[in-house]
């Protein structure tokens, strides 16, 4: 029932993603971005998507390519504007995409709350700033906090380094970033990995994402990009 599926292709891995879905997309800039799953999602054709990700695409690859394909209605992120975010910048300035800016720690904590069954939490970030507008404020022990609600995804597309055949995951260096949190926050978590190993080959003390959070895994050939392009 909850057993993780190991799939043969990225196309099979992204099958069934509906128009209008909220999709959590891993990565911090290009590190940890699930390039192959995003390419498959572009082929799959789902549109009118809400994308939750730290950035709004870099260069012309990954998330930027999905945006360029016109599939995204709204981006929820902390840092859309970067040296190489020309695709998003153009869509935003043309009024073709909606943007919700969320402080990076709130983005992470709100997804954690979704995964952890927390109804809402009082957070000190952004008090007294324009991003506090419309949020409930409360003083607790002399400090002001804003009430923040969970961000839940219909799907998460993330990248990890190695999975075992049960779906336990380990990551690599700072490519870990949002992956483990998003895996907990989505109804269906889809993971691309560099390698799938036999059950028992991962150290149980070092598993970062337990298999319970992982629905579909697909092995891909590692591809890395820098801001300037493929390398």
């Amino acid at each position: 029932m909850s057993r993780t599926e190991i799939l043969e292709s990225t196309d099979a891995a992204v099958a069934g993603i509906e128009d209008g879905s909220t999709v959590l997309v891993g990565g911090f800039g290009l590190a940890g971005m699930p390039f192959d799953l995003i390419d498959a999602l572009i082929r799959q054709g789902a549109k009118d998507l809400t994308i939750v990700s730290n950035n709004a695409g870099n260069g012309d690859v990954g998330l930027a390519a999905l945006l360029a394909a016109g599939r995204v209605r709204k981006v929820v992120c902390s840092f859309p504007r970067q040296a190489d975010s020309w695709v998003f910048d153009g869509l935003y300035r043309a009024g073709k995409i909606e943007l919700e800016v969320v402080p990076q720690g709130n983005l992470a904590e709100r997804m954690r709350a979704a995964g952890a069954g927390i109804g809402a939490f009082y957070c000190p970030t952004a008090v007294g700033t324009p991003l506090a507008e419309g949020k409930e404020e409360r003083e607790i022990d002399g400090r002001k906090y804003l009430l923040e609600y969970p961000i839940k995804g219909d799907y998460a597309l993330i990248s990890a380094h190695v999975a075992d055949a049960m779906g336990n995951l380990v990551y690599r260096k700072t490519a870990r970033n949002f992956g483990p949190v998003m895996a907990t926050a989505a109804t269906t978590t889809i993971v691309q990995v560099d390698e799938i190993v036999e059950i028992g080959k991962l150290d149980p003390e070092a598993v970062v994402t337990p298999s319970i959070y992982v629905d579909r895994v697909v092995q891909v050939t590692a591809r890395h990009y820098t801001v300037q392009g493929a390398r």
Binding site: R3, M166, S211, Y213
Partner: protein, 229 residues
């Protein structure tokens, strides 16, 4: 509240032992499910799961893919279940800390948990943490977290107290662990679905559904097999 018990099969000619009941529950746990078996009697279910069930056991003290009870040299004081009983680790296990373990539980990621109970109400209310007696030291452990956390909460218990009072009741008299959280009650005399639609008897052991309903004070069914109770 609707009670259904017409056409309910009596599938055993005797009241089930707790080991037999564990086997019944094991049969009903879907293959590949993530399951928490709490402490005490429900932990017996682990021994009754088919080898190829793919069921993954969670223990609240920070582990997935817990194995059977440890014996002899396999006993490791650093590896216990929620009842502090030494256990083992299966291939594919993962360890995590307590906040992560209960986030997993509270976040609704476990498919099934099975708990003991003092009382379960027809509407699914659960009482299993304290009798509320003057000399009782209250101890809740992870019971309240489990009660509201798993997708399906099953109870495993004897149906009657030693003095013969039913533990499946119209309304709990003991302090609650959770509200409307139980979906199914496995007992030595039969299995019940409970919840907002009331009680439904699924199967019985060594007793007819009608007699069981009478002993638990659930209302007789009307001609359609349903009645307001």
């Amino acid at each position: 509240m609707t009670t259904t018990y017409s056409g309910v099969p009596t599938v055993a000619d005797h009241r089930l032992s707790m080991d037999e009941l564990a086997a019944v529950i094991a049969r009903d746990i879907p293959a590949g499910a993530f399951v928490n078996l709490g402490i005490g009697q429900p932990t017996k279910i682990a021994d009754q799961l088919p080898a190829d069930s793919g069921v993954v056991l969670h223990t609240e003290n920070g582990m997935l893919n817990m194995g059977p009870r440890a014996v002899g040299d396999a006993i490791d004081p650093d590896l216990t279940n929620a009842g502090k009983v030494p256990v083992t680790e299966l291939p594919g296990a993962a360890y995590f800390h307590h906040a992560d373990s209960f986030a997993m539980m509270r976040g609704g990621h476990l498919d099934v948990c099975v708990l003991g109970a003092y009382q379960v109400a027809f509407n699914g209310d659960l009482a299993n943490w304290t009798t509320g007696g003057p000399d009782d030291i209250p101890a809740v452990g992870g019971a309240m977290d489990l009660a509201i956390g798993a997708k399906d909460v099953y109870v495993m218990m004897t149906l009657f107290t030693r003095s013969g009072a039913p533990k499946l009741v119209p309304r709990c008299t003991y302090p609650l662990t959770g509200v409307g959280c139980v979906s199914r009650v496995y007992t030595d005399h039969g299995v019940f679905d409970v919840g907002p639609d009331g009680v439904r008897i699924r199967e019985t052991y060594g007793i007819s559904a009608e007699e069981l309903a009478n002993r638990c004070g659930v209302t007789r069914p009307g001609p359609t097999g349903d009645s307001e109770g």
